[in-house]
Symmetry: D2
Subunit: 437 residues, 4 copies
């Protein structure tokens, strides 16, 4: 049985001239770009939650997507059907990775043990699917935000009993990730924030959060989990303010609690823009701190103020993202996870293909462009030249921390008024457009 | 000669029933609130730059405020007239502190030595004024953003010659602050950011910034300056992105470069909101990191996206600010510096009085309310009770970092489904309004 | 049986010194303010949907509020229990009005006739409740956004069959409103917008919207409904862009389609701010166009970009709202409908009381202040004086449309450079604060 | 003498493979796209103010661009040098149109007559330049916002003497536009708004604004000016709120005062986004109201909240703009005026070339893509098909205003539950990307 009969086998690569909306025009998994194939560079992942569980609900309306894999009334059968549909989808799409939330993969049971058993069973089924298809797990995570018990936070809850519950869930989600050979494990703290400062002990809540992360680090050691931990910044929504609001807030938090060696960042475009930052900045800041891990590949609408998690199609964005990834030498454990959902009116299973195919082409093109810009070298040369003065003895002394204000003054007096140079912003924007237009 | 004839002597305190727009209705410098007088709590400062130099210019129009203290055509006379007017203003307002930028206090000379001489002369005059009036210097700073040479940054400039120039200026501004007995020295990095990532070496620029701060720390030691250093977060404007964008970005930066012991934060409401944060959050986050130093007391317009630096009159804001200040035990070196400017259409000298008098009353009322809320105790008791579970053995073990995921799971299983409690947000907002309405 | 045992009888007015969180400190229904009582001025309404149906769901989490009135498993019993609870609530709160959506008051049936019967039955029960309690209906409306059939709009749907469905629903909702003696009927077009321009015929969709409004006008005539129609601006959410985005967009639409005589505006604070406007501006613009009808009394969080529908407690907001209402001579058919919901963590029935009581006090205080400012007269006098020049013959000639550019030039030459005056913005803000602080 | 020696003659078109930053890769003036040449489609204009007068000043810093055409100390010589440089620039760029503000073209004199004489002289010189070069005037305007006399508005000033002054200036600017054969005249009301509602008579100010526009209409008739009037929406900046805030506010205003036949809209991307709208929406709404006139071709930064007036290089934006222009049958009187300024660090004359060349290429590419999408026809066919149901008898009856709620209900009952269709947003975004990637 097929859940996606519109897509008979694997989505083909047909090249630039194709008008087939269900074929790749640019993404060719095995095509070489520099020292890797496109597939190796991009490491696409499909998100189980949005793809299987997204139903078009929004704050003002009920579900619009009634998917065939949810038809079975028995929850065990339904979960299995979801898994079948998902791996059919991923396989036809030709993507190498997937990601999951525990509670989206497996429904919640009557208590911790029951939930654990249900998850374990699904993990067993998923493992078999992985083996059959060769699809691998990019990362797993625990959903610590949907259930009402987490209304006031998971690890940052005023009630330690909720902390304990969350910790139990993380333990099982980590074990599941380990079983599935996951290359990473992600913390997204949707409720790890506050709705009002009036009832909040901010200091303690941040400490609680750190405690959970340290327990996870310890548990990984215990079970031999070698995957990379990620923390995923988001400034707000669902809460008014989340503690891991952006790259710098995460870095500050990790430094404060000694966790810099244990977690990297999983950055998401729509979260960056909600925080008022370009995604390019967030990536750059994380990369230069040695903390860029993985990317949630979606986009938002700059004219609206909530998380739309749209599929990214803007080649300026994909070029910027791939530029940073290439600059860090490519992904190691991370990848491009499509944490993106089709619009509420996109109600057919085939819309999931349209969405992923278009986004993959956009990223493939972004990769080509970013690579070409690096090969071309003019952009990098411009930057080097702009800072060339810092290679001077004086510049090096300052950077080495060996100069004083007085020495600087002496230099400045001797040097006279500095010569100003154009920043050439427009020329550089045009230079990038030479590769796009 | 008087620059403010409308205000004959000192602005009087006339109490709540007064309708006199040029009298205090609430601010009574010597009135006791808890263990300090209002003056001791609030430590108001007047900003030399906005008060003397603000001329109503905006990006679409020329100066509207033609002030009598700028009448002299000779720059030396004009600077002296400005100083006279300023101290007349501060004295009549009855405020204990002032703040200055080097280049607003003293015009720039033909070269570094010349500028230093001009600044020194003005510092001499200012010192005399301080002695005559008893007014003290809250903090000084160097203007490293107005001059074209800083177009691409001061310490973060691609050209080390500009770094050197900036360092020279900091050296003299610090010396001036020291001479004037300043209780602090502030770094606001208006140009310490980028306009486009395309031409920017982000990593090196942040290192350059850190180098300047360390030189300042060293120089302070050298000259025996005991004042507190502050760094002032602002996310953008004039540049697209400033490196000290918000509290957490500053803390991350200070931790990364080992500067946490040497700088505290000078927070400004309008900068907080431009970064997408409530001022209350920025204050809380800084305070709990032990890094809250001083406050630039202004406000923005939440419906516009640039820095309006308006005089604060909203008692909810002033209550929130004073609540955090009281929670940290009151200001030590810091204070409430009115980094605020009258609107473009407020063209008379007397408008400066209206602006400061109203804002001082708003802060005095905020202090009364914040103090009353603390005395009342219900708000704090509610918070303590909400987190009471963390006093349990299990809670304490977790906080002490001695529990594991497995222990948490065991606790969670034994405990069963946690009981959920109302966050009582509306009740708490009403509770605060009991002190305001 | 009582759903709100914590509130034994009616919420009492205990005056300013009361610390009872479930008593009014300011709102005293029968207290005279100017020529009306507080109740007559404020005309509070409770919204059936948020109060009864709000369950704390958000885009990232399931319902947190499990209310006793939803306990019955039989839908008829459940609806009746909701109605009982609601009128218990409104009566104890001491509010004179309520508002409803058809589909929140009565569940949807299997088809149009079935739904109509269910609604009719509930209307019958509600009518009895109204008669028993004296509570009146401020306005009714049809929910044309929650059901999946409205995914692409109701009246603005690309499919006329959905338009027809929406029209049928409006017909029954209007009839229900008529039966209940409603003083108004509101159109809020949650889905009357687009998600992407790429698939949208904007011009035709706006015409479709107008056609529905005209049908409603005709139907009102037919059934003798004398209530006021309202249109409620909102710029976005749930769609990317709604056609009735703000006051001016609504006025433009009403003028374009000849509907100015038939609809007024129902303005909501949180919708105003999402559109980038102060609520005060939206009210002023609507009032001066003769189109201000009613108010949805809530507030948003200026730091987040979605509709939070919070209970309003900020006295600056309530003062501004009541100032505009007083300026238009008070409400006629409209009122202050609390289209507001308690926070997701406010899970107890009593939180509904906290929320409404606090907001009513905030509006009562706003009314007192706005009235006092008008009585005082200084603010209005300042404005009159500022524009006094327009009372001159030249000014009057210009305003009468009888002057030409040439005449203006002649006047300008004769007059010379105009004298500039301070706008006194700070003084006026302080003047308002004299009534608040 | 040349002001732009880096660009020896006219910027050449060298085609896609060119790496020359000072050549067009795409814009080929005489290339045919559909029924017009690129030059005829795009009708580029250069803005005198930004190009000649822009000096890099921002609210935190002094001028950075010291241009050779400002070297002469005599104002008459300086103005003439500016004109020389400007026409050298426009000619070398190969653009057919220019736009001016009176006060940027000609400095202000000692009084109205003096200013008129200065303007007249410059107009004479400009006319000669036009004749020599064949460059034409797209539109003229009066700068009614920079001078302090306009601090509280021009036509909307509380003082009719300022209104008169503004009217005189409009009269002369219109006459100048007429002399120069301008195809349009624009009103941008930078100060036609308020800073605070507290001191504002909103109703009267809007009437004053309308009076000025009517006088201009009358004066045009008088002098035989046949050009198109434009009004240019902007929501805020420099004031807190401008009355012509966005397309719908302008349309509402024009309808209210009977001006719809006399003014069209001059839309600007950065103003659209400051108002919270996509430029595509603003264009569509204006076009469908028959009111789209001309375009100020720039862009903003979605992450900052002020008007950056950047040169547009984003091909998605230029495609959207040109799509709307093609949909209206192309420009008639309007064009693409580069109301854009180079960044503060772009301090060389050649940066002006980089900026314009890149933006022209981006628009040429947008034109090609928009044209190709129209030729392809799939997008339009999809939209037609989506609304096909409205071609049915029932649909047509509704659109003709001949159906009632009851008839709709009958139709809905007979029809049953409407069938829902996917909105295909992702597929359509991919379809557009087929022409871009």
């Amino acid at each position: 049985m097929s859940y996606f009969p519109e897509v008979s086998t694997k989505v083909p690569y047909l090249g630039r001239d194709s008008k087939d909306p269900l074929a790749f025009r640019i993404y060719d998994a095995s095509a070489q770009v520099g020292d890797r194939t496109m597939a190796e560079h991009l490491r696409f992942g499909v998100a189980y939650w949005h793809t299987m569980r997204g139903d078009g609900t929004d704050p003002f309306g009920a579900a619009t997507r009634i998917m065939p894999w949810n038809a079975p009334s028995d929850p065990r059968e339904r979960e299995a059907a979801n898994l079948d549909a998902f791996f059919e989808f991923v396989t036809k799409l030709g993507v190498g990775y997937w990601c999951f939330h525990d509670r989206d993969l497996a429904y919640e049971g009557e208590n911790i043990d029951d939930s654990a058993r249900i998850l374990e069973r699904m993990v067993g089924l998923a493992l078999k699917k992985q083996q059959e298809t060769g699809v691998k797990l990019l990362w797993g995570t625990a959903n610590l935000f949907s259930h009402p018990r987490f209304q006031a936070g998971a690890s940052t809850n005023p009630d330690p009993a909720v902390f304990a519950y969350a910790a139990a869930q993380v333990k099982h989600a980590m074990a599941a990730t380990q079983t599935l050979g996951g290359e990473g494990y992600t913390f997204w703290g949707g409720r790890e924030g506050y709705d009002t400062l009036n009832n909040t002990n901010l200091k303690q809540e941040r400490e609680q959060f750190a405690r959970l992360l340290w327990m996870a680090v310890d548990y990984a050691r215990e079970i031999g989990f070698k995957g990379q931990f990620y923390i995923e910044p988001k400034p707000m929504e669902p809460t008014k303010h989340q503690y891991d609001s952006d790259t710098e807030a995460c870095l500050n938090f990790l430094r404060e609690f000694g966790l810099m060696d244990h977690l990297k960042l999983n950055l998401e475009t729509n979260h960056a823009t909600l925080a008022g930052h370009d995604m390019a900045y967030e990536l750059r800041a994380a990369r230069e701190a040695g903390a860029l891990g993985s990317v949630d590949a979606n986009t938002g609408d700059p004219m609206v103020g909530w998380d739309t998690d749209q599929f990214p199609t803007d080649v300026y964005l994909t070029t910027a993202v791939m530029g940073e990834i290439l600059a860090m030498g490519g992904f190691t454990t991370g990848g491009l996870n499509f944490d993106a959902k089709v619009r509420r009116q996109s109600i057919d299973p085939v819309d999931l293909f349209h969405a992923h195919v278009g986004a993959m082409d956009a990223f493939a093109r972004g990769l080509q462009i970013a690579h070409a810009i690096r090969e071309d070298g003019r952009l990098a040369a411009h930057v080097s030249e702009r800072y060339a003065g810092w290679q001077s003895p004086f510049g090096q002394k300052v950077l080495a921390g060996q100069a004083s204000l007085a020495e600087c003054e002496a230099f400045a007096k001797a040097n006279g008024e500095p010569v100003r140079h154009s920043g050439r912003q427009e020329m550089l924007e045009n230079l990038i457009n030479q590769f796009i237009l």
